[in-house]
Symmetry: C2
Subunit: 162 residues, 2 copies
DNA sequence: GTGGGTGCAAAGTGTTTGCAAGTGT
DNA sequence: ACACTTGCAAACACTTTGCACCCAC
């Protein structure tokens, strides 16, 4: 998937804030910068740490208050990975229909898109009398190579950390 | 989707307990009966209420301790619907690959299966070097009829409760 | 100037757990 | 008898919120 344009994302968020009569504060900017400096999924706690590196004054409360704004504006998407905290996906803005393969061996997540699946979802939904608004597909899988060779050569398939 | 055989499910769970050297207690039986008396998705709190109707002695702690056993045995599946609590799907045993359409108008959930989607998932995963272990697809949709007529005639599409 | 925003710490809430007593096998 | 189980209540962990002060527009 092509990389996103972080400038565009930031502009979109500022616009979103304006629409709702909300303000562009230094804290929100620090959070915004942090969000679009990564393409990885992250937690609220991680985001707090990143944002504080840019602006010491960012508090946990502000992170938790900004996260819903980012999801509401469509720039971020909540992800439930079965852990005790919520993950956020910064790749949603450019690829709203992308799916996830989660390797149960190494916890790594691979993203992919499939027009065919998207189309089928739409067709089936239509038959059942619905219009698709959003979709989320998570595949839990195991790494073929790891199973066969006992290790995993994929760059995207490192041993699970922690 | 054809209805499940609750007798088989119960037998499977008893067997699962035996395998792990766990015991068949009255409380677990009450919970088990309750789980397979419904085809709807439910919460831990609902399950507690149902189980207590069969056996007053069932406590919240036992429900929370039994739920992981039921998921581990493959009879139940956790569902995240974006609410603050976890939902459980009792239809997983017979239809492990079924998907969900969640109507954002009325909160109703419709289940469906699609061999084509399942196959595509498998193919794509294989190409990326993974073997599918499980999958979950949730489609958020809106009810066509509701949008056009202002109300919803589908039996499965009642107004959202609460 | 004013309505929104912030940090802090306390509160909230679904879920988990330590403990002493009970019970299936 | 020996583990495994249970109910109760306290503990947890992530997230939310009340409040008094602050600041972007």
């Amino acid at each position: 998937m092509p990389a996103r344009d972080s400038q565009t994302c930031k502009a979109r968020f500022v616009e979103f804030l304006a629409t709702k009569n909300l303000r562009v504060t230094p804290q929100r900017q620090a959070i915004l910068e942090s969000v679009f400096a990564t393409e990885e999924h992250f937690t609220a706690e991680q985001l707090l740490e990143w944002a504080q590196r840019r602006d010491r004054s960012v508090s946990r409360a502000t992170v938790y208050r900004t996260l819903p704004l980012l999801t509401e504006s469509g720039l971020l998407r909540e992800m439930d990975l079965g852990k005790d905290h919520t993950y956020y996906d910064p790749n949603h803005a450019d690829h709203p229909d992308h799916n996830h393969i989660i390797c149960e061996d190494c916890d790594k997540i691979v993203e992919f898109e499939s027009d065919k699946i998207t189309k089928l979802e739409s067709e089936i939904s239509h038959k059942l009398g619905f219009s698709v608004k959003a979709q989320r597909l998570q595949i839990t899988a195991s790494c073929d190579e790891l199973k066969k060779l006992g290790h995993c050569s994929k760059k995207s398939c490192e041993p699970a950390h922690k």
